[in-house]
Structure formats: structure tokens, C-alpha cells
């Protein structure tokens, strides 16, 4: 058994994706990104903004300011997930089946359809790495992974972190590293979309002592403001 939990691994890996950036934001219903943003803030020059938090919230204009702030180019990275994520990095946060009468309904598209375009670095995450979550083609595009040439688009997906592996994204996903304890065969079996392989697929570096100390200390404490149940379960 490794000396860290799946949650701790996700937080550490997501934090590494945004390490050193100026302003990193975690959205609604997003405890893993919130943990990652707080960890990046604890380890570097990053400012973490946590939606729903009173303490980690620079905004004075209400709910719209997050989006205006992104449009002004003042947000460097944001995290998005999806009930489904496909090989073109399209994400589905809405529903499976007819959205007017769905067979599965997710919470909703939230700000994804906007922030995916406006924030330079979008880090995709989904702890559940399965053919159910990582699909050939999403049933509904809440936010598209790519856009045609003439559409104003300043940002988009740069990486995908799951419970099994880390992919880079440049038009297609490229498997870069596999987390300790898992194999390429595991990843292939659990991934519903086609992906490229890096020339050398690394073993993901596990959370360091320093990362774990911060995650189990101040990050967990700070998370409890917005995500008390999540923090208590960590």
C-alpha cells in the first residue's frame, strides 16, 4: 500500500500542473481543484481563489467577477472535469440522453462553456478512470476541447489527470505518465478514447513528503471552510 490516498495523489498531481502560475482558480463543487490550488499557493507564488470561500476570494463584484476576471486575462489556470470526457477533450457536465428528459443528469455545465475558452491553461481531471467517464464521444458537449480557426479562443485543455495516469493534450491526448502501481495495460483497458503514447512513458512521481505534509496540514484545514465533509474524510 502506498503511503498516501487517492485524494492526496490527485491533489498533489493537480497542484503540480499549476505550480508557479500567478492566479489559479477552483470552481464550484470542486474539492480536488480547491485542494490543488491551495497546495500550489502553499508551495509557491501562486494566488489561489476558491469559489464559495470567504477567505480565498478576492472578488467584490459578486458571481460575475470570476468570469470577467478570466476575460481580462487575470486567471492563469482553472480546472474542469466532466461526467464524460472524450478524446477531443470535449466535456459533458450536463446529461446523457435527451437533456430535456435525460437518462443521466449531471449537475450542469456551470462556467465551463466560457472558461474553457478564456483561461489559458485548463487542467482536466477525473479521478474515476474508466470507459464510462473517458469516452470515445461525449453525449453532450458542455464545452468543446477545440475550436475552428476564426473563433476567438485564448485557452483550452492542456492536460488530463486521472486516478491512473497523466495525459498531455495538444489536439489529441498523449499518455505521459502512469501512477505507481498501475500499468499501461490498465490504462488502455480503462480508457474509452484513442490516445498517443509519449516516447517514454514515465512512472508518475508520488506525492513528496513536503506535499503530503501540506495537504494533511494547512490545505486540509483550509478546505474545510467550503468542503467540510470532504476535508473530514481526507
Amino acid at each position: 500500500m502506498p503511503g498516501y490516498s487517492g485524494t492526496e495523489l490527485m491533489i498533489a498531481l493537480l497542484a503540480r500542473e499549476v505550480a508557479g502560475l500567478g492566479h489559479v482558480v477552483a470552481g464550484a463543487l470542486s474539492p480536488l481543484p480547491a485542494g490543488a490550488a491551495l497546495l500550489a499557493q502553499a508551495m509557491g507564488p501562486t494566488r489561489a481563489t476558491i469559489l464559495g470561500s470567504r477567505r480565498f476570494n478576492p472578488f467584490g463584484e459578486g458571481g460575475r467577477e470570476l468570469f470577467d476576471c478570466a476575460a481580462e486575462g487575470r486567471i492563469d489556470a482553472f480546472f474542469l472535469s466532466g461526467g464524460q470526457i472524450d478524446g477531443e477533450a470535449n466535456i459533458n457536465l450536463l446529461a446523457i440522453g435527451d437533456p430535456n428528459r435525460p437518462t443521466v443528469r449531471f449537475p450542469g455545465s456551470f462556467g465551463s462553456a466560457y472558461l474553457y475558452f478564456l483561461v489559458p491553461k485548463i487542467v482536466l481531471f477525473r479521478e474515476e478512470h474508466s470507459r464510462r467517464s473517458l469516452v470515445q464521444r461525449v453525449d453532450f458537449i458542455s464545452a468543446p476541447g477545440g475550436s475552428s480557426g476564426n473563433l476567438m479562443r485564448r485557452g483550452g485543455p492542456k492536460a488530463l489527470v486521472t486516478g491512473l495516469a497523466r495525459f498531455a493534450f495538444e489536439g489529441r491526448f498523449r499518455l505521459d505518465s502512469i501512477h505507481p502501481g498501475h500499468s499501461l495495460a490498465d490504462v488502455e483497458a480503462a480508457t474509452g478514447f484513442e490516445f498517443d503514447r509519449a516516447a517514454t512513458i514515465a512512472v508518475t512521481a508520488p506525492p513528496t513528503e513536503a506535499e503530503l505534509r501540506l495537504i494533511r496540514g494547512p490545505v486540509r484545514t483550509d478546505l474545510a471552510e467550503v468542503y467540510p465533509r470532504f476535508a473530514a474524510g481526507m
Binding site: A28, L29, G52, R54, N57, F59, G60, E61, G62, G63, R64, L66, F67, A71, L93, L94, P99, N100, R101, P102, T103, R105, P107, G108, S109, F110, G111, S112, A113, Y114, L115, Y116, F117, L118, F140, I141, S142, A143, P144, S147, S148, N150, L151, M152, R153, Y227, P228, R229, F230
Partner: protein
């Protein structure tokens, strides 16, 4: 002039079929007023969540008060998904206008400015666009070959929310929760519940004025201490997580929800 009403009279100010703007769960949800609405059996509401919804919408939907909801997302926070919303949607008993958070903010700002539409970046390429015949993709008239989305303004009939404090003139302390100001500006009428009412004018000094929404925008106020329970209110009280879990479990079934309403809608 702002009216000061009982909770029941305030709820009576929202007619059947009204288009009602409601805040997100962290921003002062008028839960006591919501229970009053359910008690009086309001029907056919069109809810606009600004920009997301939670317990309030789930309760109203479960109680049969809602014909349509426009929302960027709905869940019960850490208590999970919104069960009555999902059940109603699956049953075809609820019309839905799916959207994205900044589109709601921008459309309310358009109403606030009295402009018929407002452009917004991004979004094009999302399947949301195809589901919104009221949205338009046009070419930016200032630049060749630059498609952009136009959103029509949204001016709700009523904005309904809760604030910590009002004064006798009808001014409200909203602090940093300025989406409440945008809602009130955009809406034709604004109905508010508050924790308490103070004698001192909130606009009398600049420190409190900075977080105050003028009575100019407030149609009526009802005093409702703990009026956001079981949700939390900023500095004053936290979300009642145990109750949220209780609700989430009860509302998994229609019967459980009915029992919940019977017990708690009286509050």
C-alpha cells in the same frame, strides 16, 4: 417606498407563473420564504438561478411549484445531486433552459443597463447553443470574420433573496454579494427576507454604505431570523450539514420527500 411585510404577505407577492430570480446557495437563499411559498401552493414558477441552484429549487420543484428552470447547474453541495430536480426532469415534468454561469450574469447586466442584448465570448461550439433558440451567433460588426454570441437581456418579474440586515428605510446590507444587487436592478420587483432590521440608516456612513443596496430597488422586506436555514449565511451561521444529508436521503423518493415536506414546510 419599501413595504415591511409578514413572511406570508411577502410570499403572497409572488403570483403563480412568476419569473423569479434566486441566488446561489452561498449568497442568501430565502428558505423561510420558500417554505411559505410552498405552504401557499404557488404554481407554475419560472425559476432563474443566478447562476446556480440548490436546495431551494429542489424543494420548489418537488412540491410542484415550478414549470421551468433556467440554470447553469444544480446540486445540494456536499450533500450530492438534487433529487427532486432530477426526478422531475426524467419524468418530463419540468421544462429546462440549460445555460452557463456567465451568460446569466451578462443577461442580467443587460437588463440592468436597459439594453436588449449583450455579447459574450466563448460558448460557441458548446451544445448549449443549439438548445437556446433565444441566443444568436452573429459576426462582430466591428471586425471581419469574428463570430460572437449575443444573449437577450433577462428581466425577471421578481428577485427573491435573504440578507443579514435591513434598516427602517428599506436599505439592505449585502456586503460583497453583489449578484444580489444585479438581480435587484434587473428585476421588476425585489422581495427580501432579513435576519433583522436596525434603526440606524445603512447609508449614513460610507463604511456601511459600501456594502448597501438602496431601498430604491427593494419592493418589500419581511423579517425572518435564521431565514436561510438549513443553508448557511456568510458570517452568521453555517450550513446545517446534518439536515442537508437528511434532506438528500429523504428526497430520494417521492414518498420520502412528501414526508419531509409535511414535517419541515411548516417551519
Amino acid at each position: 417606498m419599501t413595504d415591511f411585510l409578514s413572511l406570508e404577505a411577502l410570499a403572497a407577492g409572488i403570483p403563480d407563473g412568476a419569473h423569479v430570480a434566486i441566488p446561489p446557495d452561498y449568497s442568501g437563499v430565502a428558505m423561510a420564504a420558500t417554505r411559505a411559498l410552498i405552504r401557499r401552493g404557488v404554481r407554475g414558477l419560472k425559476l432563474l438561478s443566478v447562476p446556480t441552484a440548490g436546495l431551494q429549487a429542489d424543494l420548489l420543484i418537488g412540491a410542484g411549484c415550478v414549470a421551468e428552470i433556467e440554470t447553469a447547474g444544480i446540486a445540494l453541495g456536499e450533500a450530492g445531486s438534487a433529487p427532486r430536480f432530477i426526478a422531475a426532469l426524467k419524468a418530463g415534468a419540468l421544462a429546462i433552459k440549460d445555460t452557463t454561469c456567465p451568460a446569466i450574469h451578462a443577461a442580467l447586466q443587460a437588463a440592468e443597463k436597459g439594453i436588449p442584448f449583450i455579447p459574450l465570448r466563448g460558448i460557441i461550439g458548446s451544445d448549449l447553443v443549439g438548445r437556446r433558440p433565444d441566443w444568436r451567433v452573429v459576426d462582430n460588426p466591428f471586425v471581419e470574420g469574428d463570430p460572437i454570441l449575443l444573449l437577450p437581456a433577462i428581466a425577471p418579474d421578481v428577485a427573491l433573496f435573504h440578507a443579514s440586515l435591513a434598516d427602517r428605510k428599506g436599505n439592505l446590507w449585502i456586503g460583497r454579494r453583489r449578484e444580489l444587487a444585479t438581480m435587484a436592478h434587473a428585476a421588476r420587483r425585489t422581495l427580501v427576507t432579513v435576519e433583522r432590521i436596525q434603526d440606524e440608516d445603512l447609508l449614513a456612513d460610507e463604511a456601511s454604505a459600501a456594502g448597501t443596496l438602496s431601498s430604491l430597488y427593494i419592493t418589500a422586506i419581511a423579517e425572518a431570523p435564521q431565514g436561510v436555514w438549513p443553508l448557511g449565511l456568510a458570517e452568521l451561521y453555517a450550513t446545517d450539514d446534518a439536515h442537508m444529508a437528511l434532506y438528500a436521503a429523504a428526497a430520494r423518493t417521492e414518498e420520502g420527500f412528501r414526508n419531509y415536506l409535511g414535517e419541515y414546510a411548516r417551519l
